[in-house]
């Protein structure tokens, strides 16, 4: 008798916990905030597991009812050592572990990861995960050789460079965008950018856009760029400096990394931390913390609402198609 009642309670608690998780996922989907935690490509799996947990919870309710009816005593208990322990404190601790995420989930508000997460993770102002081909001359003379050196870009500039690569004869695009077999996609996209007056950075392929611009940054000096993101500041930035950034996520927030461009604006102080803006600016270069990075000379700022899906994701398709739309 004792045994059955003991098991019944365990079955009920487990049912409640499983149902709790299942409802939590449903709740997030209903308030359209699941994307705050999970990348879209992973969402189906989370939804399937919500269904599975609900079914398992229902099963536990069934078991609880069964064991409280004492009907199952002829069925052999599973003998593999999975019976829950008899120790009270142990059980409380174990189930508390499961309740903790649920508690946090329901009790705390759903917030978009912004400057706080970015300051812990470290902002990426220059995209280093693409191999840097050797920098072309501002006025291309002959084709460059591509080096496979991964050392930091040469820091020959100090201060902001604003001169555009000018030449009387039309520059040879292949010379401006040297590539090896791995950065060809970026080179192709870069060539498309080169022909545009204004580069609008889209959400789809955000990372690839800024990688391309950063990789061939010397070619884009003087070009206008439109970028949307949240405002982020580091302590040692000047009062007219901030970063327009987006959190890039691969599958969940634990792997999210913030990426963005630094911007300078005389009215920067008006923008609070984590304000969402669309910023139009002209590309220039600057040395910051030992790296040469892109800095946008701001022309226009519009505050916007945070998008429904505030994060950006790696683009799995052909990136040159992004600009052809």
């Amino acid at each position: 008798m004792e045994e059955h009642r003991h098991l019944t309670v365990h079955h009920m608690i487990r049912a409640i916990i499983l149902a709790g998780f299942s409802f939590y996922v449903v709740h997030l989907v209903k308030i359209d905030k699941l994307q705050y935690y999970i990348a879209p490509r992973m969402m189906p799996y989370i939804k399937y597991s919500a269904v599975a947990m609900f079914l398992l919870a229902a099963y536990y309710v069934y078991l609880a009812l069964q064991s409280s009816n004492h009907k199952h005593h002829h069925e052999a208990e599973c003998d593999c050592g999975h019976e829950p322990t008899r120790s009270w404190p142990k059980n409380m601790m174990i189930y508390s572990v499961f309740l903790l995420p649920l508690l946090f989930g329901f009790a705390f508000p759903d917030k978009i990861m912004g400057s706080d997460a970015a300051s812990v993770k470290g902002m990426n102002l220059t995209v280093k995960n693409v191999q840097q081909p050797s920098k072309p001359e501002p006025i291309p003379i002959s084709s460059e050789e591509v080096t496979t050196d991964l050392s930091k870009p040469e820091t020959e500039d100090s201060g902001t460079v604003t001169s555009a690569p000018g030449s009387t004869s039309p520059p040879n695009l292949d010379d401006l965008f040297p590539y090896d077999e791995y950065s060809k996609d970026f080179a192709d996209l870069g060539k498309i950018f080169y022909g545009e007056d204004v580069i609008a950075i889209k959400e789809d392929g955000f990372l690839e856009y800024i990688s391309t611009i950063d990789l061939y940054r010397h070619n884009f000096i003087g070009k206008t760029v439109v970028i949307s993101g949240f405002v982020y500041r580091e302590d040692d930035m000047a009062s007219n400096q901030f970063v327009v950034s987006r959190m890039a996520m691969s599958c969940c927030t634990a792997d999210a990394e913030p990426y963005g461009f630094m911007a300078e604006w005389n009215k920067a102080a008006d923008l609070g931390k984590d304000t969402w803006v669309t910023l139009t600016g002209v590309i220039g270069l600057k040395k910051y913390k030992g790296n040469e990075i892109i800095v946008l000379d701001t022309r226009q700022v519009t505050t916007i609402h945070a998008p429904k899906d505030p994060y950006v994701y790696p683009y799995f398709g052909d990136i040159t198609q992004l600009e052809k739309k």
């Binding site: 999970i38 989370i46 499961f98 309740l99 812990v120 995960n129 991964l150 599958c251 927030t253 634990a254």
Partner: protein, 338 residues
Amino acid sequence: MNQKSILHWRPEITYIIAIALVVAIGLHPEWLSTDVIFNSSRISTFKTMLISIVLETLPFLLLGVVISSLMHVFIPEAWIRRFIPKNPVLGILIACLLGILFPVCECGLIPVVRRLMAKGMPLYTGVAFMLAGPVVNPVVYSATYVAFRSRPELVYARMGLAVAVALIIGLVIYFFVKSNPIKDTRESVNVGSPFKVLRVTKKSGRFNEAIRHAGSEFFDMGKYVIIGSILAAFIQSFVPRSELLAIGHGEYTSHLFMMGFAYFLSLCSTSDAFVASSFLGTFSASSLLTFMVFGPMIDMKGTLMLLSVFKARFVVLIIALLAVIVPLGSLLVDKLFW
């Protein structure tokens, strides 16, 4: 009702009431109007990390316990033994390739391996599978490929090194580990238990048993997964990375750092490539390789789960072997191939 059962019941009822309260508050969050307390930024980040990590693990954990339970009920004893070749090297290589069939992250893999070993898979093969599985599968391959689009040598090196490490450790176990390291607590699987004859043989009875098993295993393993997630979320939200980065930059210390980093971050093998790629400018490629091979093989969550299956001494052995072989392997790859 005697005295004993009253005492036995009351705390349980209180407990259930407490759970019900949580659910009720969840449905009516306006009852918790103290927005001020809950707005602390780090706590917010912690909550986001925790929920994200836990939610992301759930599908894999569920998949792992379901597969494990189905195997427990439907696959006869010692069936697996017939399929594993006697030759240890061959056996381990096959185990590594099994990872391609089971693209489950380590949380789902450990219950499966435990079950396989109960069904006759030798220890060294099981461990090799457990180590290589989280890395050598198509999901991780494509995730690494996308993160390191321009450095495919890192993708190939990751796969190759994982197989090599699994092979070496598997062989070490084959030759040197003679006693059975599986914990004989009540939680471990009882092989050849006399109660097996009582097992219900009807199809529906076996199916029922599979589900019960899955549920039990979910809670057994799940508690370690969640504890590990809490720790990882804590580190992710409260320890600024810049302070960690200041530490390990030397040619050899960077490997040490990367191992510790991978261990404490406890990232899923499908997404650690993304994090690693953000370090390309600051860390050597070979130390990133260490990060991407060591991390999926062992981390906080994994250690907890292993400790529930194996004796502590064995777990320590595995960790020690990994901590030595993985960086050595990465450095070798760096010197020889790059």
